[in-house]
């Protein structure tokens, strides 16, 4: 078990030495500053315009919160792919993995350690960004988002789904192919989410079923849909004012979340199996 931690530590060291940590921290801060300025300007304007009906303000605020969190959600997915796409494939291609795999540790520790290191970095990034954004909104508009913990956990899970898939891909595919495959899967799930959403509004059962089927293949986008659903004030939902481009009119069920957990675990086990079997 200690060697899992040593491998995880190595992924931190790599992120630090390659200045990736700095890039992420600085750009994350830039994102938050930009968001805070934008939110401040828009909110000041809106408050002036809607002074007579303060309750109407909730709708645009909700929209901006979801838009911000959606942007973070997207960054998390991108980051999940980018930090992991080369980690196994690249070391196999360079032969650097050979000195690691011949150390006294079972091979699955290498996968587990890399996963742990990257997952921790991703989770810290996701939580920090989401909490900071919610804090900005609270300060500026005194607006408290609903179910923040569950929503953030869902976004973290979405990142982990993508991360784990890209680690699995790295055990068999070259870096480039792996990146292409994972992004395509993500894109597929994204489109399917829309088909399901619009199908739901138009009451097209076939469209909804296609959406669900693709979500089973790649449950990443479904996690965001559920997070968005949970984040919204229920009365907006009841008023039917909640179908923002970033939000969700209907949400994937809790069963989908359980499925996503099992899916991630299965993908992880597959990655371990593939890596343990292959020649390095």
């Amino acid at each position: 078990m200690r060697s899992i931690w040593e491998i995880a530590r190595l992924t931190f060291l790599e992120a630090r030495m390659r200045k990736m940590l700095w890039a992420i921290v600085l750009l994350g801060i830039a994102f938050l500053i930009l968001y805070a300025i934008g939110f401040h300007l828009i909110y000041t304007d809106l408050r002036g315009a809607m002074a007579s009906n303060a309750a109407r303000l909730l709708e645009p605020i909700n929209f901006f919160v979801l838009a911000g969190l959606y942007a973070i959600n997207f960054l998390v997915v991108m980051l999940a792919v980018l930090i992991s796409v080369d980690t196994i494939a690249g070391e196999i291609a360079s032969g650097a993995i050979q000195t690691i795999a011949t150390k006294p540790l079972p091979r699955w520790h290498i996968i587990a350690g890399k996963w742990l290191g990257l997952a921790l970095m991703l989770a810290v990034f996701t939580v920090t960004m989401c909490v900071a954004l919610m804090f900005i909104v609270k300060l500026e508009a005194d607006y408290t988002v609903r179910n923040p913990v569950q929503a953030i956990a869902l976004i973290v899970l979405e990142g982990l789904i993508v991360l784990t898939l890209s680690i699995l891909g790295g055990t068999r595919l070259s870096t480039l192919t792996n990146g292409v495959v994972v992004f395509m899967l993500y894109g597929l799930a994204f489109i399917a989410g829309w088909i399901e959403q619009i199908g739901g509004m138009m009451r097209s059962e076939a469209a909804v079923n296609i959406g669900i089927l693709v979500s089973l293949l790649m449950p990443s986008e479904a996690m965001w849909k559920r997070a968005a659903y949970l984040l919204q004030p229920p009365f907006l939902r009841e008023l039917g004012l909640d179908a923002t481009p970033f939000g969700a009119a209907s949400a994937p069920s809790e069963a989908m979340v359980v499925y996503a957990f099992l899916y991630t675990a299965l993908v992880f086990l597959l990655a371990v199996r593939e890596f343990s079997r292959r020649d390095l």
Partner: protein
């Protein structure tokens, strides 16, 4: 036996990389593993270390299956082709590998400093590997292989990319390891080096062992007798074939011998026959100017073996 293989095979598609390889390497031995490019040396090493799965046959290393974590701590390995991560410093690189070996912090510090000095990189510990030259990378790779004071060291072409001084240092290092009782499995194309460092040698060709033994055993079987004699007749020459085969006839001028003298090289099974050959030539009436038994160098042997049909 530290390394034992039995009928080890590796097939990649239609390429047979290793073909029923059976070997045993004992404790404390320096074992040279030779063969032309593509003979299957690296593939064999990968199977010994559990990096590649054999298509057939078995291998045991320190009595265990290849890759068993229980023994990998006692094995040091320098891979053939590697690009170590360019972003890490030499000292951190050794520290990371020391951690993977499970060494304590104090031990890691001590070993890193020792080994950096040993491979001539004492002042480059803080440099990133991306700034290293090929030979320097090879040196840091060697240091990494020795971190855990291993019982068995497997080196895949340790001297490729090293300057003559570096090659000399590696040779000394192998001698030191042998003096400490460490077993070394060495794969190299520098035959003069293998000649002076290895106790036993295997020559492989297309994945099969074609020669195996100590240097003396291998070269004795292929000794030659160089003869310069005048008054040789076809009958006398024919008589020589009872000891061996005439493999080469040199022109007299080339050999700077008396103009009427013939100069030939007789391949014999054992160099001990030289006195009998001399006796025969004199009795047959040839005037013997020179008769010199000589062993093949490993390089000559290697080239001869490669020319043979198998």
């Amino acid at each position: 036996m530290l390394i034992e293989t039995c009928g080890l095979c590796k097939v990649y598609g239609v390429t047979v990389a290793v073909d029923h390889l059976t070997l045993a390497v004992g404790e404390g031995e320096v074992f040279g593993f030779l063969g032309p490019n593509g003979a299957g040396k690296t593939t064999t090493i990968k199977m010994l270390l559990g990096l590649a799965t054999p298509t057939a046959g078995q291998a045991r290393i320190l009595g265990r299956l290849p890759g068993d974590p229980a023994v990998m701590g006692q094995i040091g390995f320098l891979p053939e082709q590697f690009r170590f991560p360019p972003w890490i410093t030499a000292a951190d690189f050794l520290d990371v590998h020391g951690r993977l070996y499970g060494l304590s912090a104090a031990e890691r510090r001590r070993r890193s400093a020792q080994l950096l000095a040993r491979v001539g990189l004492a002042d480059r510990g803080r440099s990133k590997l991306g700034e290293f030259s090929k030979g320097m990378l090879q040196r840091i790779g060697l240091a990494q292989a020795l971190l855990s004071r291993p019982r068995l060291v497997i080196l895949d072409e340790p001297t490729s990319g090293l300057d003559p001084l570096g090659r000399r240092e590696v040779r000394d290092l192998i001698h030191e390891l042998r003096a400490d009782g460490v077993t070394v499995f060495l794969n190299s194309h520098f035959l003069s080096e293998v000649e002076v460092t290895c106790d036993r040698i295997a020559i492989i060709k297309r994945g099969r062992v074609v020669r195996l033994g100590t240097l003396a055993e291998l070269t004795r079987q292929r000794a030659e007798v160089e003869i310069v004699a005048a008054g040789m007749t076809p009958e006398i020459e024919a008589g020589l074939t009872q000891w061996g085969r005439i493999v080469q006839r040199l022109a007299p001028a080339e050999a700077a011998t008396p103009p009427d003298a013939g100069h030939l090289i007789l391949a014999v099974a054992d160099e001990a026959v030289a006195p009998q050959v001399a006796c025969y030539l004199v009795q047959a009436g040839a005037r013997l100017h020179m008769l010199a038994p000589r062993r093949l160098s490993l390089e000559e042997l290697f080239l001869r073996v490669m020319e043979e049909e198998t």
